[in-house]
Every structure is written in C-alpha cells, then in structure tokens.
Amino acid sequence: MSTPPLGTPDTTGAVAPWERLIAVIRERWDIVALVVLAVAPLVLPPLGGALGGQVTTLFIYCILALGLNVMVGYTGLVHLGIAAFFGIGAYLFAILTVPMYPFQMRFLTAAVVSALATAGVGLALGAPTLRLRGDYLAIVTLGFGEVVKVTLRNLEQITGGMKGLNPVPPPGAGLTIGGTDLGLAFAIDPRWFYYLALLALAGVVLAMRRLENSRLGRAWVAVREDELAAEAMGVSATRVKLSAFAMSSAVAGLAGCLYAASLSTTADPNAYDFNRSIMVLCAVILGGLGSIPGTLLGVALLVGFDTVLAPWADSAIQQWNINSSGSSLLTFSGWRLAIFGVALILVMRYRPEGLVPSRRLAAELHEVHA
C-alpha cells in the first residue's frame, strides 16, 4: 500500500500550491469534508431538497457503520446482525416518543435512553455467546437478527406489527424559536435533519477517534490480534469483547433513533433485516476494517450507490427517453446488483485490506510481507 504516512513534514520547500492543497486535504480530510458538507446544502439547491433527505440517510448509515466497525474492525468479531440493534434503537426511541405511549420524551432524552438500552440488549446477547469462536459467533448474531425481526413483526400490541410505530415526532416538536415551530421546521425542510445527522456523525467520529487511542481501544485491537497474548498481558478478553459489543450496540441504537426520527416512523420490521446488516458489513470491510475514513467512504459508496445514484440514474434514463420499450435490461436498477457485486469483488481482489486501510493494520501487513 502506498498510503504515505500522514503528517510527515515533507510539504515544506518548493512545492506547487496545488500539491500543498492536496496535502492539506489529506491531512485534514475530516475538516474539509465537514465544511464542504455543511456548506453544500446552501449552495447546491438539490441538496436542500429530496437529495438532502437521501444524504441524511447516508449520514445515519455512516453512524451505524462506525458502530459496527467497533466490533468487526477494532475487535475482529464478525457481526452479521447489526441491523437488529439498529432496529431495537429505532423501536425503543419510537416507544419513548410516539403519542400512543405515555412517555413522550424529548428527542435528546429519548435518544440517550434508547441508545443505552440498546447497549443493554447487546450485553445480554453478548454475555452468554462471546466465548464462541469466530464464525459461530457470526451465526449467533445472524440468528439474533432474525429473532428480533420476527418478534418485532409479531408483537403487534407493542410494536405495531408491520405498520410500525407511527408517527415519530420530529426533534424539537413543541419548541418554538423566533416564532417558528421547530418541529414543523424539521418536518418541512429536510436540511434541518441534514444538519442534525451531520452533527451527530461528527460527534460519533470524534468519539471514535478518542476511543481508538484510549486504553480500551488498544485493548480491543490487542484482543483482535492475539487473544491469548492479550490475556497473558492481563487484558480480560471477555470483558473487552463485551465492552465492544455494548459500544457497537449503543452506536447502532443511536443511528436507529435518528433513522426513526428522520422517517417519522420506525418503518416496518423488514427494514431491519439481514440484507441491511450485510450491506453495512460490506461497507465497513470495503472501506477498510478499523479505519474511520474507510468506513465513511465505504458507506458513501455502497449506500450512496443504492439510495442516491441508482434512483437518480433511473429517472435520468427515463427523462432522456432512452428506454421507450420499458425493458428492465435498459434500466439502471436492472443492473444494480451486478454492478454492486462486481465492485465488491474487484475491491477485494486489488485492495483486500480496504480502500482506506487503517494505519495500524496497513503497517502490520507491511511488516508481515517485509
């Protein structure tokens, strides 16, 4: 891999200005991306419209993927049921806010409570199953995902069955600022949600960075690299894995809250099925395990492809009237799966450690090959 070590002070001396610019972007990709994303809806009208709503969804998936990254990337545990925790977060949040139930909490309180409760569910599942070896644990998470989906569907009295819980009030419902009802503003202009999700994503990214270099974060990686050695050094593998499980679930739960709030419904339980788990897992691996920019890029590519690019391409084809016969061979969505599949295979073939490998992982791989 030729990722140059970031932060090397080579950019002094006689360097062309664009090269310096590229160096700055590399070094400070996070700030650049944040500023670009923050300004974009104000200068690009489509982002203020429906596209903005789709990008909001993208941000939410980024949060979900960062949560999954804690387990799969840092700790090396394959998790095939992250969507279940996403769903549990969404439903708990809905139960705490919809008019059907007596709680009717404010957005922030409800989000915190449901994220914590989702972490609790994660602990309850993790405690008995974490001693399972790799692929057996993966299948337990998969099975748990199916159990949750079926249960959400069947406990109609609590979850509304296939109707879902509906309507989830927008954040700030009931609050008025400068004469405008904040809840109504959220409901009408998708940009409010855009910024809320962006803010939440920025917060999660910041928290993940802190965690990466914390004692706990290093313990996660130690367990991933060699569980026995880590145990020998006095790290309790079980406790470390459990904390990863809980952290992962909490972040997924938080993403679920935002998801339910942005759709104003929990949607039906099928929204939290295995397909979703797999999609997010692919995004994390494609981007680069354990790498925050990689995870974000992976989601942007995979989910963006499905929710932003594909619908856009379809309606473009329709508007240019290329496909008058209506054949599915001539629609973009007809080829969506194949394009997706080829992309996954090619990336894994030529960059098996992901598009933006984590620095730590890349360094290790190089060591091995050297």
Binding site: P128, L132, V150, L344, V347, M348
Partner: protein
C-alpha cells in the same frame, strides 16, 4: 398422533432438502474456511436452468418411467452446471484471495451472490415463476391418513443416495483423503505432494454438484422459483451447517433434519408466524451449550 407423524414427515422431508444444500456450505467451509454466501444463489441459477430445460424439452407431457429418467437427467445436467460454475467462481474470485485478510473472500462471496441474483433476475424476470408439477400427486400412504406423494418421495430418493455417495467419497477414496488432509493443514498437505488447488477445485465441484441436484429437487418439490429464493435457502442451510458443526458432513445432515423438524413442529404447535424466530432461538441456545455445534469437534486453540 397422525397429525404429529404427518408434521414429522414434512419436517424430515424439508430437512433432507436443507441438508443437501447445507453440505455445499460445509464442504467449502471445511476446506478453505469460507462462508460461501453465493451457494444459495448458485442453487437459484441451477433452478433457472432446470426450468428452462423442463420447458424446452416439454417434460410436462412425459409420463411414467420417462419422467423419472428425465428427472435423473435434470439432476445430472444441473449438477454439472452448478459444479462447473462453482469451480469457475473459485478459480476467478476466491483463489487469488487465498492469502488475503480473512474477511476479503467473504465479501467477494457476497459480491458473487449479487451477480448471480442479477443473472437470475434477467433469466426469470422479477416475479416468482411456477415450476411445473412433473410427478404424479397421488398419495402413497392412501390408507393411513398421511399425505406423502411422489415428490416427497423424490426428495428422499435423491438425497439419501447422494449423501451416502458423498460419505464414501470423503471417507474411503484417495481424493477424500487428500481433501481431509488439505482441510486439516494446507501447508502440510502441499508438502506431502497433494495438489492443493486441484483438491479445492474438486471440493467446489462436488459442493456445486450437490447444489445443482438440490435445485432440481427444490423446483419439483416446492414448485416455485424466483430470483430471490437463494437467500432464504442459503440462510436455513447455512444455519443447519453451523448447527451440526460446520465442516462436518454428518453434522450438516443432522443440522438440516433438526431445522426441518423444528420448523414443522413450531408451525404446527406454536404458530406459523413464529417459526423463523424459534428456529434461530434454538440455534442460539444450542450454540451456547455446545459451542462447536451438535457434531463438531472442539478444536484446541494453537498457541
């Protein structure tokens, strides 16, 4: 009592089909430790071919022995097709990744599964397609109040010999020995002169062949195929393989039968709507108490 027996019969028949698919997972996993996500979709493509052949040959009009011969022909043709496809995919996609990080082949397998689904979408169209009933629907147990028709029998008639043949192949032939050797230690196997790549290819072929056979039985037994059928198929079969102890051939069979029975009995006594949850809840409980699956051997971690 008749009701209970009927449900068990349905469960075992369904389970036998699940087991046949599970074998494809367990063989590939046993040899290269890959959860072959595309296996279910491979079977879907096999079923596409079977449907095309059935329509093309006008098999719906055949009767008696001709039908059974035709079914045997279908099994062989679809088996060869799926086996060949599986080998080709291994050659093109998985082989270059033998030394890549562990999750890279997994994601590639998901990619292959998407490509297969897209092919199936163009082949079958978006809606489910009916697979003609080739076998007579007469009840073989006419007297006893039980329903067991020719197509139920077909599942048993095809699945049992295939499983026996597979056990013989793995246990008592040179190839089987080589396979087990590669499964245990690839490097050591290569050192003693086994052509590892060829053994892996052959394993993919056998797994694919069983999948192809399963696709024909699936079409004749369930009578509906669609481009998304691979997913559910794969989910239950893979679960069966893990439940039995992934990598273990008798384990896959036992796992498949257990899943079939659990599904039938929970539909009968708890309610159809809960079957999905019960199957997986039982899976989790079993794995908590037997972390290596029902028949899996516990492996000591090497230091």
């Amino acid at each position: 009592m008749t009701f209970f027996l009927q449900q068990c019969l349905i469960g075992l028949t369904n389970g036998a089909l699940v087991a046949l698919v599970a074998l494809g997972y367990t063989m590939v996993y046993g040899i290269i430790r890959l959860i072959n996500f595309a296996h279910g979709d491979l079977i879907m493509l096999g079923a596409c071919l079977a449907l095309t052949l059935v329509t093309g040959l006008g098999m719906a009009g055949w009767t008696g022995a001709a039908t059974w011969l035709g079914v045997a022909l279908l099994v062989v043709l679809c088996g060869l097709f799926c086996g060949g496809l599986n080998v080709a995919v291994d050659r093109l996609v998985y082989r270059p990744l033998r030394n890549a990080p562990k999750l890279a082949p997994l994601v590639s397998a998901i990619g292959v599964s998407f490509i297969f689904m897209n092919i199936g979408l163009f082949w079958l169209g978006p809606a489910d397609r009916s697979f003609p009933e080739l076998l007579p629907a007469t009840n073989l147990f006419a007297g006893g109040g039980l329903q067991f028709t020719a197509k139920d029998l077909l599942v048993i008639v095809v699945v049992v010999p295939l499983m026996v043949a597979l056990s013989v192949l793995v246990k008592s032939t040179r190839f089987g020995k080589a396979m087990r050797a590669v499964s245990q230690d690839t490097t050591a196997a290569a050192l003693v002169g086994i052509d590892v790549d060829r053994v892996i290819s052959a394993t993919f072929f056998v797994g694919g062949f069983l999948g192809g056979a399963a696709s024909v039985i699936y079409g004749l037994y369930i009578n509906t195929i669609g481009f998304q059928m691979g997913f559910q198929n794969g989910l239950y079969a893979f679960t069966a393989a893990v439940l039995g102890g992934i990598g273990s051939i008798p384990g896959a069979v036992v796992g498949g039968l257990v899943i079939g029975l659990v599904r039938a009995l929970s539909s009968a006594y708890v309610g159809e709507r809960w079957t999905g949850a019960i199957v997986f809840a039982i899976l989790i409980v079993i794995l908590v108490f037997r972390p290596e699956g029902l028949l899996g051997r516990s492996t000591k971690e090497k230091v």
